[in-house]
Amino acid sequence: MMGLLTRSAPRTVYKTEAGEVVYGMMAEFATPAEISHAAEKVRDAGHSRWDVYAPFPIHGIDEAMGFKHTPIALACALIGLTGAGLGFLLQWWVTGQAYPMVVQGKPFTAWESFIPITFELGILFTAFTALGGMLAFNKLPMFYHPLFKKERFLRVSDDRMIICIEAADPKFDPTKTRELLESAGATSIELVEE
């Protein structure tokens, strides 16, 4: 968002020897413990555009990477309550205004019998928000990504653990980033082309 408002300095574009634009540098680590420690080092080095890729959510990695909270719970709560409200409104309008019918001599807008459907619609809207919000906040679906070209990366979904620091990171520097990853205990390091 800030990028839209203030013109940021043009980033340095790095190229490989073959002339391809560099997306970032990825390093493999052997175990969840090692990658957690490495993530702490990368975080402490002040990087901002980087990520840890692992076949499962590593316990405590959010702290090791220095994440802030995700807004998905708030989105679910707001849209869920909207759904419940709409559900109640629908029933109130249909039963009390559009098509009033005497059922068991109850007042047309007696709210008690509206509770089950109000509840169900609240749940329904929340569920759609949970899945839709997860995809939206994660910018998915995204069928293309530079990392997918790397054979090593395709094994993350099996058992590998990889840190990738993007070239767009202001702190990215081919030599220093490599040194940082090496000192963090990477077992292999390679450049990722855009």
């Binding site: 090692e34 089950p116 509840f119 679906p141 054979e151 395709l154």
Partner: protein, 528 residues
């Protein structure tokens, strides 16, 4: 720079350098090593020290390799049953509900019995995926995917019955509040309409939950297919005349549904939160759905239906019947795919047997309480309805229900029974039968002898009744067979996450076989 595999042992074994893993434990006390009564000891959730790669191989193997010889005949059989059921549904739609055995007195019978039966089956799946998730029961990870799949297939079968029982299926849209030129609207004070919303919400939320849980595993299947394609770009073709290899097709098909998931930790964080929210809302949802189903009966004035115990009693019964179905599906699957035994241990079976024992006893308590209140409430009609259930013309159904639902689970007090797959299977099948009869007893015996003896009648099912029910069993099993064949049957990422080597705070000992002495992450079999 060399690549150090996180699990050398697994890698060596995959490369054929290491033979079969550890000798399977076969101890009379702990069976496969998981039946440990000492609460200070955590039995392993995955046997044989499986590495991450092993877990991927096992689970993806079901979807990637040709299935055993049993698959095609079984699939053919259940698909035939499903098709026959479909033809009978077609016949019913063309001819009308007069082809069922319903009559003026018993105007709800097999249709609603089957509906409640199937919707109840689904509840175990949601219980495992949602409630056990909130309670942090790690053992759920090996059974949740299959149980959620079962939920969706059961809800599909359940939804068939209300739709076809309306008689004029082309008016089914009238159950939804859709503006129409007659300016009429559904009655929102009717529990039957609540049911429409509850069941459709339940089906949708279960599907979303199932799908979201599957995204990472579909991505694993995608990546493996892609690697296979890179390794062998001229592999087997999908069809002889199409220039598309099987692996290319699989990568695209799984890839489409995996929405480009790339296992990013930033994604995982939002994903886990969203998963927790879904679990959190599914918990009250599952309780509400069967409560609302029970309102269909409880809010009427019919003796035998008009009771306040119905919502909790129905929910307990649903979970009871659902767990029985999970077991009835997973025990044979576990025998047919022997390496499933590493993921679904005897401990998992025992845990589920214990839940069956608890919920079965709740159901038994509810049966006796209903009877007690019928007498204690002093309402003649109510008491008659219950005495008629136990001694009237449908007494055989009532006593089938009691013996299957109340007596048979009591076997699980005996440790040898609740840890033996054969015994569990027998009880699970008995419970499935019993739970069908429970709904039959509630619905038919309450209706067939109501207030005026002149109206009394009997219900006899016709061949159409029977074949449509059998057909839904076929539909259910067909869908389950397809699931076993093409989708990740286990939640791989979740299972990997509960293995000891996934713990980042366990030092550096992540090898399945680490001989430097501090394998504190592994299950301790000696008492602490």
């Amino acid at each position: 720079m060399s690549t150090i595999h996180p699990d050398e042992y697994g890698a060596r074994r995959a490369a054929g350098l290491e033979g079969a893993p550890i000798e399977p434990v076969n101890d009379p006390e702990t069976l496969d090593g998981t039946i440990i009564d000492d609460p200070s000891t955590r039995p392993p959730l995955v046997l044989n020290d499986r590495s991450f790669h092993d877990i991927t191989n096992i689970v993806c193997g079901y979807a990637e390799n040709k299935p055993g010889r049993w698959w095609m005949p079984v699939f053919g059989l259940v698909a035939t049953i499903a098709s026959i059921g479909g033809l009978f549904i077609l016949y019913l739609l063309i001819t009308g509900v007069g082809t069922w055995g319903l009559n003026n007195q018993v105007d709800w019978a097999w249709d609603i019995t089957n509906f409640v039966f199937w919707i109840g089956i689904g509840h175990a799946g949601t219980l495992i995926s949602a409630i056990l998730c909130l309670l942090k029961q790690k053992w759920r990870t090996s059974i949740n995917r299959a149980a959620e799949a079962m939920t969706i297939f059961a809800v599909i079968c359940a939804g068939t019955f209300p739709a076809i029982h309306v008689g004029r299926i082309w008016f089914i849209w009238m159950v939804f509040p859709i503006p129409n030129s007659n300016a009429i609207w559904p009655n929102f004070r009717s529990p039957l309409l609540w049911d429409v919303f509850a069941v459709s919400t339940y089906a949708t939320v279960s599907l979303l939950f199932w799908y979201m849980g599957m995204i990472p595993d579909l991505a694993t299947l995608r990546d493996r297919a892609h690697l296979e394609h890179m390794k062998n770009p001229n592999g087997r073709r999908l069809l002889p005349f199409l220039p598309v290899t099987v692996s290319r097709f699989r990568a695209s098909a799984y890839g489409l549904f995996a929405v480009g998931w790339r296992f990013s930790s930033r994604h995982w964080m939002t994903y886990e939160r969203a998963y927790l929210i879904l679990a959190g809302i599914s918990t009250p949802l599952v309780l509400s759905v069967h409560s609302i189903v029970s309102f269909d009966f409880a809010t009427s004035v019919l003796p035998g239906w008009h009771t306040t115990i119905f919502p909790p009693y129905f929910v307990a019964g649903a979970i009871f019947g659902g767990f029985a179905m999970v077991l009835a599906l997973m025990i044979p699957a576990r025998e047919l795919y022997p390496n499933m035994k590493d993921l679904i241990t005897v401990r998992h079976l025992e845990n589920m047997a214990k839940i069956i024992l608890v919920t079965g006893s709740m159901v038994g308590f509810a049966y006796s309480m209903e009877f007690f209140i019928a007498w204690y409430g002093g309402n003649q009609n109510e008491l008659f309805a219950f005495i008629n259930r136990a001694t009237g013309p449908y007494a055989w159904a009532y006593w089938t229900m009691i013996s299957c639902n109340v007596i048979s689970p009591q076997l699980f007090w005996i440790k040898r029974c609740r840890t033996s797959p054969v015994w569990i299977m027998i009880v699970a099948l008995a419970v499935t039968v019993g739970m069908w009869f429970e709904r039959f007893v509630i619905i038919v015996t309450s209706l067939h002898r109501t207030f005026i003896p002149g109206q009394w009648g009997m219900f006899y099912p016709t061949i159409v009744d029977i074949m449509i029910f059998v057909g839904t069993i076929g539909i259910f099993l067909t869908l389950f067979m397809l699931f076993l064949r093409f989708l990740p049957v286990f939640a791989m990422s979740e299972i990997k996450n509960v293995t000891p080597q996934a713990d980042p705070h366990a030092g550096h000992d992540d090898h399945a076989h680490d001989d430097d002495g501090h394998d504190s992450t592994h299950a301790q079999t000696e008492p602490a």
